[in-house]
Symmetry: C2
Subunit: 194 residues, 2 copies
């Protein structure tokens, strides 16, 4: 099991003793997901927090017209889950799909609760992780409410610098809410304007 | 200082000893805000978490065209803050305005950090509060991306049952993103369809 990335992620926020770190790692399960395979589908109850080791996931929903809305990407070092479904234990709306062959670590909600009970400093870790998600969702909401496409694109670039060259154009276009053709035209204009 | 509501809010999630509860209350500041007065404006750095004792606040932003977007209401028992600004210590986008004469308790970000350091179980409290905000923002994002006005209105009613009769129609209309006339027509149709 590749654990260096997740331990680095945790140690950004809390310091673990060797036994705490061993206990944490003992709760994780490794999983490989093939490109285009789903880890979660609409109406599933989301029971796992997913940490990406290699590859890339995307979280999206389908609206009533069958149109996809991408909520977030998860490149290596990111967490992804349907927090709404996980915390309410209700069927969720989120699809989580691999954009490339991806290796993840899974932490079950019951194990997350147990971890926080037995190693209370993980309360701090998950508080900070969730604060960061909240900031991202708040920004994403504001983008959709008020920002022009160019600014939405610039925010995408800032949020996911490693994905700009790596993701298919159509995924980026779907995330910022424009057609791939419009994105391509906008990118060309932005390059010319430099 | 009216402390029963905030203590009830905290004790929903954690159990406090008398000295912990005294320490928590010693960090709070009471403030009265008149109707239409602002607690926070765009470009302020948000340094306080606001807990509503009586009255009602609303959090909104202005887009480039001067159009208001209401992110949330805060009736009694709710917390409100520009979390993005608070956590990044950058100037924010949120306005927080009183919709009626309102009494709040303020908790400064530095005192919040001190509280979590000295009484670590508050890590748990704020984790849960933030998880709940995250769920609300996630839903709000989904509403704006994919839901018809009728469903957005039903979600408003579920989220803020105490505000349905209390808020001016135009505030509810702005929150769900329709004109007051459309809201009024929709409400009438929903009553007829019962």
């Amino acid at each position: 099991m590749q654990t260096s990335l997740i331990l680095a992620n945790v140690s950004k926020h809390i310091d673990l003793q060797a036994d705490e770190s061993d206990f944490f790692l003992s709760l994780l399960k490794e999983k490989r997901v093939k490109r285009k395979q789903h880890l979660l589908r609409e109406n599933d109850v989301c029971l796992q927090s997913v940490f990406v080791n290699t590859g890339c996931l995307r979280g999206y929903t389908l609206d009533k017209n069958g149109y996809e809305h991408i909520l977030q990407f998860a490149p290596p070092g990111w967490w992804i889950a349907d927090m709404y479904s996980m915390l309410t234990r209700q069927p969720g709306e989120l699809f989580i799909e691999a954009l490339e062959d991806t290796e993840v670590l899974l932490l079950h909600i019951d194990d997350r609760d147990r971890l926080m009970r037995e190693v209370p400093k993980f309360e701090r870790f998950f508080r900070i992780i969730i604060e960061n998600s909240l900031i991202t969702f708040r920004q994403r909401l504001m983008e959709n409410l008020g920002l022009p496409a160019r600014d939405r694109y610039l925010l995408f670039c800032k949020r996911y610098p490693t994905l700009i060259e790596r993701l298919p154009q159509k995924q980026i276009a779907a995330y910022i809410g424009v057609t791939p053709e419009f994105l391509s035209k906008m990118r060309a204009e932005m390059l010319r304007a430099r």
